[in-house]
Symmetry: C2
Subunit: 148 residues, 2 copies
């Protein structure tokens, strides 16, 4: 597959790279990046185990890093890319940050926000299914290894 420059797929590949770092560190493999004006301004992966902190999801860390980078907690012009559908907590965080575009890979029917309705910013555009198979495979591989 060729990735065109500045495509959702390209940024999602970067989020997937983060997810793989999580995998290597025995964290649930979810990664995220925040993009502003075509530039990645924050990258993060899930670190709930290492930090022993449930709030250390990839999205949360990425939003905090992006806000630190900008010196502004509002991220209206940013796009959040995350490999798996955000949970309720992370969806709520994107709403507070007024993130207007959320792109995710694999659906998460059990822990994703979607089954609770519209929890993102009211004006947020949502794109789903970007590199979903890659994200899902990584998650499946992780939990298969865990069960061993």
């Amino acid at each position: 597959m060729t990735l065109s420059l500045y495509s959702d797929e390209q940024y999602m590949q970067e989020a997937l790279k983060q997810a793989r770092y999580a995998f290597e560190e025995e964290e649930i493999p979810i990664g995220a990046v925040v993009v502003l004006n075509k530039r990645i301004i924050a990258r993060a992966y899930n670190q709930t185990e290492k930090l022993q902190d449930v709030t250390a999801h990839a999205e949360m860390l990425a939003l905090t890093a992006a806000a630190n980078h900008l010196g502004n907690k509002y991220l209206q012009e940013c796009t959040l890319y995350v490999t798996v559908e955000p949970c309720v907590m992370c969806a709520g965080a994107t709403a507070w940050a007024q993130v207007r575009r959320v792109v995710y890979g694999a659906a998460e029917p059990k822990f994703g926000y979607r089954r609770h309705g519209q929890l993102l910013h009211p004006r947020a555009e949502v794109v789903s299914g970007i590199l979903a198979q890659e994200s899902e495979s990584l998650m499946r591989e992780f939990f298969a290894q865990k069960r061993k």
Copy 2:
């Protein structure tokens, strides 16, 4: 009013003290404490302005501090006291941390989690309305000053 030792009111007074610190620092005045075996193991107040970080709600900071204190991200035996009804993000965080008891003061019809349904841990007990008037007055005073 007399406060009996170890009552919800007593712990909520401590959360209110945190909320007043937020007020003094021109933050939306919300405070939280986490209690385990009758002892306060974490105290925090909203710092979204100072940190320019939407994730820095009182509850989030208190949950992270409690997990750091215990070296364990699960807080099943803990009670979270917070002066105002938690938002979606914070409700989601308490669910991940498996907090089984959430006590809050004032209802927050617009930004509270409740209008989105049950977002806390499925086994969480919820107590509301503890020192609600005090919490609400503090919030009202804050926003009245802001409008000036």
